[in-house]
Symmetry: C2
């Protein structure tokens, strides 16, 4: 399970950082999930190893433009590149009507169906080998975190149950072992019910804009990674209250420490933070502030940073494959 950051700037793009988008890559195969889709996300995908054909679903945390204005163009490009498979979009109220209005206005006819799921009514949603649920956060507009858990981590067949239910060994067992549903003596057996995990599931929480990290306490249980905004440092937030509804690096770090989170990834930095550590404020100020309160593994996202969560729950940077301009 990899995270590949496609945009890590708050509000507006800079020359080094695009606005919000992060890809969650499945452990097997080329499938990936997209959380947020700021303007230019499809351009970032072009510069990554990701393909719009392999996109499994899109999740929008909230309706602010830097988190969703890239949707219409990405959907149109997926269509022009020949996608025919349905695409689920999990998004708060407002996004569906806007996407439909935008496609209508621009007379864009997608050759594949969009399957909208309202975040507000998501419940415990399953897609492929992931279970996904949403947690409400605190921001100027309704904002959500999405939790992604492996549904069936390295499963083994529950042979004790099969024997107890008198289901004979043979091809049926093989199909159930693959997670397929089968018919047996007029009954439908769900593969899912006959598989047992052999290790704890990996779990990642990716949060939208939020000024109360503590709202994530329950979501962060049995979670290896939290991706959370740290728009400002405390010093800058105190000095310039131009925008509200965001978290400081300090507040997120203290929360992560309080719930003993093993890995914390900060993102969505105000464009004022400079890459050059000799200029002020710099992105190193964000790191220092967070590191003072949080003693787990701390990462600051940048565009095209790729992190891999292994089966033991360790998060490590992997060398990004980045396509060069031709």
């Amino acid at each position: 399970m990899d995270l590949l950051f496609l945009g890590t700037s708050s509000g507006t793009p800079t020359r080094a950082r695009n606005v919000s988008a992060v890809a969650l890559l499945e452990g097997l195969g080329k499938g990936w999930h997209l959380v947020d889709c700021g303007e230019g996300t499809q351009h970032q995908v072009l510069r990554s190893p990701l393909s719009l054909h392999e996109l499994q679903a899109i999740y929008i945390t909230h309706v602010h433009g830097d988190h969703c204005y890239g949707l219409p163009g990405l959907l149109a490009s997926a269509g022009m590149s020949g996608r025919t498979r349905a695409l689920p979009i999990v998004a708060p109220a407002g996004i569906q009507a806007w996407i439909e209005a935008t496609l209508r206005m621009s007379e864009t006819h997608l050759p594949y169906p969009l399957e909208f799921q309202a975040t507000e009514a998501l419940g415990d949603w399953r897609h492929g080998d992931l279970r996904i649920e949403a947690t409400a956060l605190s921001h100027r507009v309704p904002s959500y975190a999405y939790g992604f858990s492996e549904a069936s981590p390295d499963p083994r067949l529950d042979t004790a149950r099969l024997d107890a239910e008198g289901i004979p060994r043979g091809p049926l067992w093989g199909q159930l072992a693959q997670g397929l549903d089968v018919e047996h003596q007029g009954q439908r057996l769900r593969g899912e019910d006959y598989r047992l995990p052999t290790r704890p599931p990996r779990r990642v929480v990716i949060a939208g804009d939020n000024d109360r990290p503590a709202l994530l306490a329950a979501a962060c249980r049995d979670t290896q990674v939290l991706v959370h905004e740290a728009t400002y440092t405390r010093a800058v937030a105190n000095a310039a209250r131009a925008e509200f509804g965001h978290s400081t690096a300090d507040a997120v770090a203290a929360f992560a420490q309080s719930v003993a989170l093993p890995n914390l990834v900060l993102t969505h930095f105000s464009p004022r933070y400079q890459a050059d550590p000799t200029r002020s404020p710099s992105i190193q100020d964000v790191r220092q502030e967070a590191a003072a309160s949080y003693h787990g593994r701390l990462f600051l996202a940048q565009d095209f940073l790729r992190l891999r969560l292994d089966k033991d729950g360790l998060l490590e940077r992997v060398e990004a494959e980045r396509r060069q301009a031709p």
Copy 2:
């Protein structure tokens, strides 16, 4: 008067070309006009010497996404960077309602007013030192070309008229010479009426998607530069009729030759044309096809190409200042 191309790809971005946008820079000062605003135009502006503060007006040729999906993000970023000056947007029906719905959906409150002008009812519009008019083209949706003419090229005061009307020499003459309106004996004198051009006006026509270049015959009179799409070569257009409503390089070139146009700039190329001339089809195929029919000065646009139209009507490439990533 400069043209600076910000996007030159048709339909979808590529790693080398963004979707449609072109800046027309005024001869004096830092003011510029933007024709079309595909997704990622604000990102291209960040990589150029242009500033959103100095943007004079936006013109949209038609409602297809690759020509307008960048508008909401660019407008929001202009607001976040502190713009307060009103921004005129000349656009076909549909764009105004969509922009307003998009800003409402995303709860984006711009700190400056938008002044929408419907292209359909533009007439002879004046903005700063330019006169702008629209010509209807032929495409799958209503599409327009915009003609930009210098309103007052290197003006001199019409002293003969002033003397004939008995307007006394003095500060009044100086104000009229600057193009200002003045009061004289209870009458309002318009500076514009007392200035004479000392050379022919420069004139540039920038066309939207169009499959009938001959519709531009009247617009191209006394015009030094036509910017027109050449989405396909004839060979490709004949082989793959997937999309209609576009021009071949051949058709645009033949038209430009027939009206003795001095400078032709082709743009909006299908992503299938490769930059590498050894691959097929290549962008060189487009050039060769156009050059076979057109014998004026031919340019193929690429992102960040900058062309300068001098006062004698000569169009020449200038070295692009391109900002480097920090």
